[in-house]
Structure formats: structure tokens, C-alpha cells
């Protein structure tokens, strides 16, 4: 294992997957760069959210709108899904069959979809209490930041489905493997962004 | 115009469209235009700073102008000067080309820091007399000057005594604008829901061109005004005259003032002619802060309540939907 030089930060596929391992060098580096760019977008939306904390315009604020229980549950779901994706990555690297890999991916997908479901439920509930983006600058900032993360998760889920279908069509080939490595990065990245959202938006809103 | 206004000289190259607005804009070429011919202490300091920065920067700039042609000629293809195709570094020269710009920026930075503090538009100006307070509101496409202590207001006409500095508070009732009297000093943005400040002073009596320099729609280029510094006595006369002959700022009038129109259009809408058409008497206290806070102005003003929408869009929406 130590004999294979690391091609990129993060989990390397290693010699057993030589072709995919080599292909990952450029693809994963490019994906890191893309995530840096994406992180700027989230960073700016965080900054915008902070500047708009007081822009309630008489509308409902964090205290009235946020439900900690639900946000905490969402956090657990997403963190668990990161763990299960990690298991899927290990299956990809060390167990060269498709069974366990598909199973863990399936669990991750379900957790991701559950997260989106809970989040949509939250938004619906907020809307019922007058928490809609057109109500105030604060709510606009909230609805730019949090649903954008949700949209990322949804896209990642779609990507996962596409990769699973590709696995059926092409088998576990280089294209699928490199895709899974990159999706893993995205999945963990979105987890980190969510930790930021949970701390700053939800916990910060409580304070 | 008022009694102190010199007659406008003839101008050539004038096109028909502009004729009608001229008198109302007080658009006379006699007004001072530029800070390079400063009419107040701020503009004078800015001019001095301007030339100083140019002089210091020339230390780096002039050698480029002089040496470039010399080098191109001396080392031309076919010339006989030394040719060193592999020469590409000299430590001594590096010190010079990094050192001198750093030095110059260092010197300039000292001046910059000082001048930025000294000429901060929020600084009250030192003067023997109390400053004159004026509250400036930007509309599409004119300025309203409220004299809170005198309880009068004017449109596109700023008159002040030449021995008192001006202390301005600015806001905008519409999009962002930039209030600017170049020959007196700095410009500052006027923004909706916010108050910015600006302090200016004139050296003596005179007429100064003022403008909005931030594009705000089709009437933008007409949003010019004249600021006039006059003697104390003339100023008192002016205030008296506006109090006596100015029109009341009632609800329907404010409604029109608040709309999207240029000064000639405004005057036409108000059926006003003559000098006093756009001067208002009996301005209530708190008008400016009400505009900043965005609360309904109607309650402050006399006259029948007007209910129609405040903003008329510049473009009507395209397409069939209303």
C-alpha cells in the first residue's frame, strides 16, 4: 500500500485500480479546485446571512422559525450518510465486488433523501408561519443559503443514482470509479458546509 | 432668477430640445465647474493634492517616457550598440526598480493618509460662524434642499451665505445618487433609507455647478443645479422671499415632486412659472427624517390625502400582463 504514491489528497484508490488511480490524479485535483470555487459561493452567502441578521423588517426571526429538533435530526442524518459513504469508498477500494458497495451507496442515498425530505418539511412549516423569502431581507438571506445547500445535496443524490445506473450498464469501470471518488469528496464537502449552517444559522439563531 | 443672478450669456450650438429647460436649471455657463479652479477650501486642498501626487508620480513616469524611445533607437535592429542576448538580471537594477516605486508609494501613502482624514467629508469645517444646515433629498431627477432652521425648501437651487460653511445631510428617496459640487469639494452618495454627510464651504460669493454623478435613469443628464454663495443680507432676503412667496408643500404637490420627472416637467405639472415656482415655504419639522425612515410623508403635510402608488416605473412592463 505504501508503495503506491499518493496522487491526490483524500482517499487514493491505489494500485489495485491502476487505471482509475492514474485518471484520478487530474480529475480529483480539478474537483478540489471546483470545490474551492463553490466554497467561495457558500462563504459569500454566509457573509450575506450575517449582515442581514437584523433585517427582519418586522417579520419573524430565528427564534420563531427555527426548530432545533428537526435541524439536529438533519445533522445526524447527514453525518451518518457521510460515514456510510466512507464505508462505500472502502468497499470500492478493498472489496472488488459490487454488492457491498451498492448496499452502502443505497443507504447513503436514502439518508440523503431523508435529509432533503426533512428540510423540505422545515421550509413548509416556516412558510406556514410567515417565514417566506419575500417577507424580509433576513429570510431572503436564509433562503439563499440553506436551500442552496439542499440543492447541492439533491444534485449529489442525482449523481449517485446516475453512477449506480452506470454501474449496471458498464460495470465497475474507470468512469464509475473516478465518479465515485469525486462524489465522495462532494458528499463530505456538503457535510462540512452543513456543519457550518447548523452552527451559524441554527445554533447561532438560538443564541 | 433672483436679484443677484447675472444674466446668462448667449450660447451657441444650442439645440431646440434644451431651450425650454435652460432658465429653470439655472444652467448658465457662469457657474464654476472644476476643482482645478477651486472656489472653496476643500476643493483647493484637493487641487493641491492632485498636482502633488502627479509631481511625485512623475519620478517614475518620466523615465519611461524618456528612456523608452532612447532604448528603442539605440538598440534598434541593425544598430551598433552592444548586444547581450543572454543578459537578463542585475541585482543593482532590481534594487532600483523595486526600491524607488516602494519609496514613492510610501511617501504618497503618508500624504494619502493625512489628506483622507483632513478632507473627510464628515468633518465639520473650522469657521467663525455657525454652519448652515441643509438637508438634501435626491429624487428622480432633481434635488430637494430642505433648510430645517429656516423652514423652507427649494428644488435644484442651493443658496447659502458665503461666510458660513454648509453642513449637509443627504439621503435619496429613490435609487442611489451622488451629490457633487466640483468647484466646492467632495461628492458623496445619497442612498435610500440612509443618511450621509458632507461639509462644504465657499471662499466668497459665486455660482457653482452642482450635479448628480450617479446614473439614475433617463432624466439623469438634466439633474444639474446651481449652488450660490451670497452675502448674509441677500441670504436673509432670499429666505424672507421664499417664506412669503414660496408655495406650500402640500400632499398633492409632494406627490408630484416624488414622481419621476425632470425639473421642467415638475414645473409644468405644478403649473409654476417664474423664480418661485419650485420654492416651498412652511416646511414642517421632521420631513427629512420621515423620508429617511420611509414612513408615509402624508401625515406631515397639509392638504387632501393622496392614495395612488408612489413609484411610477420607468418602463412599463413589457407584454400583455398588466
Amino acid at each position: 500500500m505504501t508503495a503506491t504514491p499518493s496522487r491526490h489528497p483524500g482517499l487514493n484508490l491505489g494500485r489495485a485500480h491502476q487505471e482509475a488511480h492514474d485518471a484520478c490524479e487530474v480529475l480529483v485535483f480539478g474537483f478540489w479546485v471546483f470545490m474551492m470555487s463553490d466554497l467561495i459561493i457558500f462563504g459569500l452567502l454566509f457573509a450575506n446571512y450575517v449582515t442581514q441578521l437584523d433585517a427582519l423588517a418586522g417579520g419573524p426571526g430565528p427564534g420563531e422559525l427555527f426548530e432545533m429538533k428537526s435541524a439536529f435530526l438533519e445533522t445526524l442524518l447527514l453525518l451518518t450518510s457521510s460515514f456510510t459513504y466512507g464505508l462505500a469508498s472502502y468497499c470500492l477500494k478493498y472489496r472488488h465486488g459490487r454488492g457491498w458497495l451498492t448496499a452502502w451507496l443505497g443507504v447513503t442515498l436514502l439518508l440523503g433523501l431523508a435529509f432533503i425530505g426533512f428540510e423540505l418539511h422545515d421550509f413548509h412549516k416556516m412558510a406556514g408561519e410567515g417565514g417566506v423569502p419575500s417577507r424580509s431581507g433576513f429570510l431572503s438571506a436564509f433562503f439563499a443559503l440553506v436551500p442552496l445547500h439542499g440543492l447541492h445535496v439533491a444534485s449529489a443524490c442525482l449523481w449517485m443514482v446516475v453512477l449506480m445506473v452506470q454501474m449496471c450498464v458498464h460495470g465497475l469501470d474507470t468512469g464509475v470509479k473516478t465518479g465515485l471518488v469525486r462524489l465522495g469528496l462532494l458528499w463530505h464537502f456538503l457535510d462540512i458546509v452543513w456543519v457550518g449552517i447548523f452552527s451559524l444559522v441554527y445554533l447561532g439563531g438560538l443564541a | 432668477m433672483t436679484d443677484t443672478t447675472p444674466p446668462c450669456p448667449r450660447r451657441f450650438g444650442r439645440f431646440a430640445a434644451g431651450l425650454a429647460i435652460m432658465p429653470l436649471l439655472a444652467g448658465c455657463s457662469h457657474a464654476h465647474l472644476s476643482f482645478l479652479a477651486p472656489q472653496g477650501p476643500i476643493a483647493a486642498a484637493q487641487r493641491d493634492h492632485f498636482w502633488l501626487v502627479i509631481a511625485i508620480t512623475l519620478v517614475v513616469v518620466l523615465p519611461v517616457f524618456v528612456l523608452t524611445p532612447v532604448i528603442v533607437w539605440r538598440y534598434r535592429y541593425g544598430g551598433r550598440a552592444a548586444y547581450r542576448p543572454r543578459w537578463s538580471f542585475s541585482r543593482r537594477l532590481e534594487y532600483v526598480i523595486w526600491g524607488i516605486p516602494f519609496l514613492i508609494v510610501g511617501i504618497l501613502a503618508v500624504f494619502l493618509w493625512r489628506q483622507t482624514y483632513a478632507l473627510d467629508p464628515y468633518n465639520p469645517l473650522p469657521a467663525d460662524n455657525e454652519p448652515l444646515h441643509v438637508q438634501v433629498v435626491g429624487y428622480d431627477w432633481k434635488w430637494l434642499f430642505i433648510y430645517p432652521d429656516q423652514h423652507i425648501a427649494t428644488v435644484d437651487e442651493l443658496v447659502f451665505p458665503d461666510d458660513r460653511p454648509l453642513a449637509l445631510e443627504l439621503t435619496s428617496d429613490t435609487v442611489m445618487q451622488s451629490f457633487f459640487i466640483p468647484s466646492l469639494g467632495s461628492q458623496v452618495y445619497a442612498m435610500n433609507g440612509m443618511v450621509t454627510r458632507l461639509h462644504l464651504a465657499a471662499d466668497g460669493p459665486g455660482r457653482f455647478r452642482g450635479e448628480n454623478s450617479q446614473y439614475n435613469g433617463k432624466g439623469f443628464h438634466t439633474q444639474r443645479f446651481t449652488a450660490r454663495a451670497v452675502s448674509d443680507a441677500t441670504f436673509s432676503d432670499f429666505v424672507e422671499r421664499v417664506r412669503r412667496q414660496g408655495r406650500a408643500l402640500d400632499r398633492p404637490t409632494y406627490q408630484i415632486l416624488d414622481g419621476r420627472n425632470t425639473v421642467p416637467e415638475l414645473a409644468r405639472a405644478l403649473d409654476g412659472t417664474g423664480d418661485d415656482a419650485l420654492r416651498f415655504s412652511a416646511i414642517p419639522d421632521g420631513l427629512f427624517s420621515a423620508i429617511v425612515a420611509g414612513v408615509p410623508i402624508q401625515s406631515l403635510l397639509p392638504g387632501p390625502v393622496v392614495t395612488s402608488a408612489r413609484q411610477t416605473p420607468l418602463h412599463q412592463p413589457q407584454g400583455g400582463t398588466p
Binding site: - | V72, W98, S186, G217, Q318
Partner: protein
């Protein structure tokens, strides 16, 4: 469902009023007729131009060639050329708009012929096009073409993404072109400040055109930045250490890093503005807690690094030009690299100088002012490095060199006015005036456009195999310089006289002489554009006399000159090994250029992909649908885009192989040609005898 209902759904808010001549038919006043005729003529040009292109392609039966050799090609060289074609078309339009604006102001004392609204559209499209659809595609195209060749790569890291970047930029450009036919465009300026661009003040389609055109372009540029940066980090030939790269590659690297970090703020700003306008959010509105100052910060957080995105590649081109045409190594290579990096980093620390006058405290203004002036240091160093590159060289006044020298002198002046503007106390006087307009044109016309045009003149023979004609070429270069001086120096004067930017008319007679001179300058610039067209036309006609098949017409220094002109698809028959800076010049010095490779191997190249053109169409249709509220079209195009991306991810045959035999044949034929070609001295450089093989130096001196 009634017919009306159906039409509402099908046509959104499109109706007769969108036609450029509708207003003048409904209300035939003089002003409406004049302005309506101008727009109608422009719209007709767009429509006829598009029709003529279609007819010509059909007539010569070139659809297949267009599709398989160009549109679906993922070859970095072809994509680069297509980027530059987009840039030149848009350049022509934006220059014509500039001429209209200068003409209006030349007669703008109390009147003129353009309506205020129309003038507003002119300055908005001019600025938007010049920044996003002329400058960005031009520099992207030049980097695309040159950078992989200079680092000895076969292509970019992500060739299909490159094609998608081109597609999105082209879709944005097409959207702006369509706004001439289905009017109006925004009047909010290239920076689109709210609340003026909010629905409460400008509910029409104009601002939406602007938002979506800019958004398409910024997405494309983000991808371009990622692509370039990864390519430079990962695809360099063996031995091509970072500090052996030609300076142009360094500037390309810095520019792409800036793109990666600076385009997102723009995307965020335009997306938020769109949310405000479409879904009634309150980011920048005046009511319910919106704050327009957030937009201003976001926009300039992009906007200032953008200036250096634009200028750095031109600095790279000039570095190549100065050393090539002085027959000498670049002076202070490491200093130039450090200076470039300094500029890139500092560019993120100065955005506030675009709004010193917003009323913040003097300490903030002073800090940003000093940071701004600091950028002057590395920039000044660069200027002197270029002068020292010519010093002790053999300077040849070729056309690229004329542009470079014009740049050197004029740019320094622009730098000086930049230092002036960096002083908040002076900025309070010249901000928002024509002084500012003169300043940034002074930076961008010599600093970007001259650089790109110099690059175009220098690398054209590399790309097409023949040199450009010189007589009209010189005319264009001198006319650009003279036209620039005439058009923009008066604007400095006007700014100092307090004339605000973006004014359709004025009432001060003192402005008139200056606006007239500036108008004449605009005509000279128009002549420069005409000269470029003439040059291209004559070059095309005399291409056979001007061929440079050997591929090194200027005695070049970096690897791209070691290849035939035009360059084969695979760039290098075998990947070059690099052992020093100025890699090709070293080979020539050692007499080791044009060597026969020991063996040839099969070359794997990326295969064509239709993804780029598909996303061009769907991206355009989605944006167009959003502008006119054609929700069905937005939905269809959106689904088609996602579908195309997914379908592409299933494709497994993404490469093609060029056989070693084919490579050998082509390369050996070229090497024979090299041997047969007469080497020319540098005084014959712009002569028909120059077939692209320079004479070897004699006792060190360039021959």
C-alpha cells in the same frame, strides 16, 4: 383554455413592443424615428448577418465541416480560435456603439440625436460586451491556443469542459445579440447597481437580458479558470518546471486562479438580483430589509480582480513580444513572476476603492487607498523589466512591437491616473466623472486590447500557417494608438471639468470642444477596426505568398514555435523534454532544433463531443425563456441540459487514437520541408521570403 390564455403561456411577456421599430410606428415623433431607425438597422444587420452565414455555409456545403471540425471539436487550438472569433465579432459591435456614444456627446450640448433611454442601452451593452464578451473570450482564446503549446501539453486537462465554456460564453453573446432584435436591453450600466436594476424601477426585460448574459459568461469563465489552472499544474512536459514556464503561462496561471476565486462573487450577485426580480426576494431592494450596499460589495469583490484577470494575460503577451522582438532573454524573469503573483493577491484587497464616496470612515478609505497604490509597485517593476528587456537587445519594430511600445507609454499614464484615483480625497472629485472613464479605458485599451491584438498578430501565422499582411497591419496599430489618444485624453479634461459619466447630454459649452475631439478619436478607432478587417481580407487573399510552414517566423523562444504552422492536432509528435527557460531558443542555439525523434508512438487524443454545442443551445434557450417568461421553454431547455450532461457521463469512448504511422509520415514530411527551406535573416522577417525558418545567430547577434 382560450386562445388568449394559450398565447400568454406560449409567448410569456413577448409582444409587438419588443420589436425595435414598434415604438416609431406607434408614436412617429422625430426622436422615436431616429432612434427606432438606428436600432432597426442594427437588428437587421444581426438578422441578415445570421441569414448570410447560414446561406453561405449551405452554398459551400460546409455544414459537416463546421460540425465535425469546429463545433464539436475539443481541440484546444480550435476552441481558442472560436473564442477569438466571438471576441472579434463582439468587438466590432461594441466599437460601433462607442462611436455612436461619442457622436452623440459631440453634438450633446443641449440635445443630440439619441434618446436618453437609447443612450443608456448603448453604454450598458458597450461595457457588458467589452468586458464579458470581448475581453474575456479574447484572452481565454489566446491562452487556450498558446498555453498548452508553451508547456508542451497535448490539450487542456478537461477538453470537453473547455468546449462547454466556449458554448456558455457564446450563448451569452448570442443573448446580447438577440436583445437587438427583441428589445430592450438594460440601462443599468455594466455594473448593474440595484436598486435601479430592481423590478420596482426597471421591470422590463432589459435587466433580465443583462443578468442572464453575464451569468452565462461567468459560469463559463469559472470553468475556464479551473481548466487552465489544472492544466498548468498537471500537464506540463517533463522538465518544464514552473520556473521554466514562459511568462505568458505564469500570467495565464494567475488569471485562472483569479477566475476561480473572483467569478463566484459575480455569480452570487447576479443570482441574488435575479431572485429579487423573479421571486420577490429582498437582497437589494429598498424595502423589507434589503441592502443595496451588499450588491456593491459583491460586485466589486468580483470586479476588481476582474481587472487583473483582463490585464495579466496581456502582460504575458507583452513579455513574449518584448523578448522575441528584441532577440533577447526576458529581463528579470523571477521578478516578473513575483510581481504577477503580488498583483493577483493584492487585487482581492482593494475592491472598496470603487466606492470611496459611500460615506465610510476615513480609516477604511485610507487603508484601501494605500492597498490600491501598492499595486502600482509590482506594475511599475514590470514596466521597467520590459524596458530592460529591450535594453542591450536588437529591437525590431514589427506590428506586435508597435502595439507593445504604444502600451508601454500609454499604460504608464493610465497608471498615474490610477494612483490619483487611489487617493480617496482626489477620488471624491473625479469619481463617477469621465476622468474615471478615461482612466479605465487607459488601462484596458492599451493594457488589454493592445496586448490581445499584439498576440493576434504574433500567433496568427502559428495558427493558420500564413503571416498577416503588414501595410494595413501597421495602419491599424498606429490608428489604434492615435485614436485612443484622441478619444480618451479629452475625457480626462472633461472629467476634471466635472462632467459625469453616462450623460446623454450636457449644458456647459465648455465641454463641447473636448467632446468633439473625442468624437474624432472615435472615428480614428473605427478606422483602426476597418484596417484590421482590410488586413485580414488581404492576408487571406495573399495567403499563398505568406506561408510559413516551418512555423517559426519571428525567431521565437518558447516551445510553440518548435511546431509546424498550422500546428497538427496532437501538437508534438513526441512529448518534448525541457531543460531550461526559453526552451526552443536553447535548442536553436545548440543547433539541436528540428531533430528526428527516435521512435513514434500512437497518440491518444480526446474525441469530439456534441456536449458543448448542445449546452450552447439549451443554455441560450433557458436564458431567453427566463428573459421573456417563457416558462415552458425554460423547463424544456433545463431538462435537456441535465439530460445531455447525464447522457455524456454514460459515454465511454471519449478518446481516439492517431497511429504512430500517421504521426511519422506527417512529421517526417515537415522535417524534410524544414531542411529545404531557406533560413531568413530578421530584416526579411516581414517579407515573403520568410517561410518560418530563422537564420542562426552569428557570433551571438540576431541575424
Amino acid at each position: 383554455m382560450t386562445l388568449n390564455h394559450f398565447l400568454d403561456l406560449a409567448l410569456g411577456r413577448l409582444d409587438w413592443h419588443a420589436l425595435p421599430f414598434w415604438e416609431m410606428i406607434e408614436q412617429p415623433t422625430l426622436s422615436h424615428i431616429v432612434n427606432g431607425s438606428i436600432v432597426t438597422a442594427a437588428a437587421s444587420l444581426v438578422v441578415l448577418g445570421a441569414l448570410a452565414t447560414v446561406v453561405l455555409i449551405t452554398r459551400f456545403g460546409k455544414w459537416r465541416v463546421l460540425w465535425s471540425d469546429w463545433l464539436t471539436s475539443v481541440d484546444h487550438k480550435r476552441i481558442g480560435i472560436m473564442f477569438i472569433v466571438v471576441a472579434l465579432v463582439m468587438l466590432a459591435r461594441a466599437i460601433i456603439e462607442a462611436v455612436f456614444m461619442r457622436a452623440q456627446q459631440a453634438v450633446g450640448l443641449d440635445g443630440g440625436f439619441l434618446s436618453a433611454e437609447h443612450f443608456g442601452e448603448f453604454f450598458t451593452t458597450h461595457g457588458t460586451i467589452m468586458v464579458f464578451f470581448m475581453a474575456m473570450p479574447f484572452l481565454t482564446g489566446v491562452i487556450n491556443y498558446v498555453m498548452p503549446l508553451q508547456i508542451g501539453a497535448r490539450d487542456l486537462s478537461f477538453p470537453v469542459m473547455n468546449s462547454v465554456s466556449l458554448g456558455l460564453t457564446a450563448a451569452g453573446a448570442a443573448l446580447i445579440m438577440v436583445s437587438l432584435v427583441l428589445t430592450p436591453f438594460s440601462t443599468g450600466g455594466w455594473s448593474g447597481y440595484p436598486p435601479f436594476t430592481e423590478a420596482s424601477f426597471n421591470p422590463g426585460a432589459g435587466v433580465d437580458y443583462w443578468i442572464w448574459a453575464v451569468t452565462l459568461s461567468s459560469l463559463g469563465s469559472t470553468m475556464t479558470g479551473i481548466n487552465f489552472a489544472v492544466t498548468i499544474y498537471k500537464e506540463r512536459a517533463p522538465g518544464m518546471h514552473l520556473f521554466r514556464m514562459p511568462l505568458f503561462c505564469w500570467t495565464a496561471l494567475c488569471t485562472s486562479i483569479l477566475m476561480i476565486f473572483a467569478m463566484p462573487p459575480l455569480t452570487v450577485a447576479t443570482a441574488m438580483l435575479a431572485l429579487d426580480r423573479y421571486l420577490d426576494f429582498h437582497f437589494f431592494t429598498q424595502d423589507l430589509g434589503g441592502d443595496m450596499m451588499n450588491y456593491v460589495n459583491l460586485f466589486w469583490l468580483f470586479g476588481h480582480p476582474e481587472v487583473y484577470i483582463l490585464i495579466l494575460p496581456a502582460f504575458g503577451v507583452f513579455s513574449e513580444v518584448f523578448s522575441t522582438f528584441s532577440g533577447k532573454r526576458l529581463y528579470g524573469y523571477k521578478g516578473l513572476v513575483i510581481a504577477t503573483m503580488c498583483i493577483a493577491v493584492l487585487s482581492f484587497t482593494v475592491w472598496l476603492h470603487h466606492f470611496f464616496t459611500m460615506g465610510q470612515s476615513p480609516s477604511i478609505n485610507a487603508a484601501f487607498g494605500i492597498a490600491t497604490m501598492l499595486i502600482g509597485v509590482p506594475t511599475g517593476v514590470k514596466i521597467y523589466d520590459w524596458m530592460l528587456t529591450m535594453y542591450r537587445g536588437r529591437v525590431r519594430l514589427t506590428i506586435p512591437m508597435v502595439y507593445a511600445l504604444g502600451f508601454l507609454i500609454l499604460f504608464v499614464l493610465g497608471g498615474m491616473t490610477g494612483i490619483l484615483l487611489a487617493n480617496p480625497s482626489i477620488d471624491y472629485q473625479v469619481h463617477n466623472t469621465l476622468f474615471l472613464v478615461a482612466h479605465f479605458h487607459n488601462m484596458l485599451v492599451p493594457g488589454l486590447l493592445f496586448g490581445m491584438l499584439a498576440g493576434y498578430q504574433m500567433w496568427f501565422p502559428k495558427a493558420f500557417g500564413f503571416r498577416l499582411e503588414t501595410r494595413w497591419g501597421y495602419r491599424a496599430a498606429y490608428a489604434w494608438i492615435a485614436g485612443f489618444i484622441l478619444a480618451f485624453f479629452p475625457l480626462y479634461a472633461l472629467g476634471l471639468l466635472g462632467m459625469p459619466r453616462r450623460a446623454v447630454g450636457f449644458i456647459e459649452p465648455a465641454y463641447l470642444p473636448w467632446t468633439i475631439i473625442a468624437g474624432i478619436g472615435a472615428l480614428v478607432v473605427l478606422f483602426a477596426l476597418f484596417s484590421l478587417v482590410m488586413q485580414f481580407w488581404l492576408s487571406l487573399r495573399h495567403r499563398h505568398e505568406n506561408r510559413v510552414p516551418v512555423g517559426d517566423p519571428w525567431d521565437g523562444r518558447s516551445l510553440e514555435w518548435a511546431t509546424p504552422a498550422p500546428v497538427p492536432e496532437y501538437n508534438f509528435p513526441v512529448t518534448p523534454e525541457v531543460s531550461s527557460r526559453d526552451a526552443f531558443m536553447r535548442e536553436k542555439d545548440l543547433g539541436q532544433a528540428y531533430q528526428r525523434p527516435a521512435e513514434y508512438r500512437d497518440i491518444t487524443m480526446p474525441a469530439n463531443s456534441a456536449l458543448g454545442p448542445i449546452l450552447t443551445v439549451t443554455g441560450f434557450l433557458m436564458a431567453f425563456g427566463l428573459v421573456w417568461y417563457l416558462w415552458w421553454l425554460v423547463l424544456l431547455a433545463g431538462v435537456a441540459s441535465v439530460g445531455a450532461l447525464i447522457a455524456r457521463s454514460f459515454v465511454r469512448r471519449t478518446t481516439k487514437v492517431i497511429s504512430a504511422e500517421e504521426v511519422r509520415e506527417t512529421h517526417e514530411a515537415w522535417l524534410r520541408q524544414v531542411d529545404e527551406t531557406q533560413a531568413v535573416k530578421r530584416d526579411k522577417e516581414q517579407d515573403t521570403s520568410n517561410r518560418g525558418r530563422p537564420a542562426a545567430p552569428v557570433s551571438g547577434a540576431v541575424q
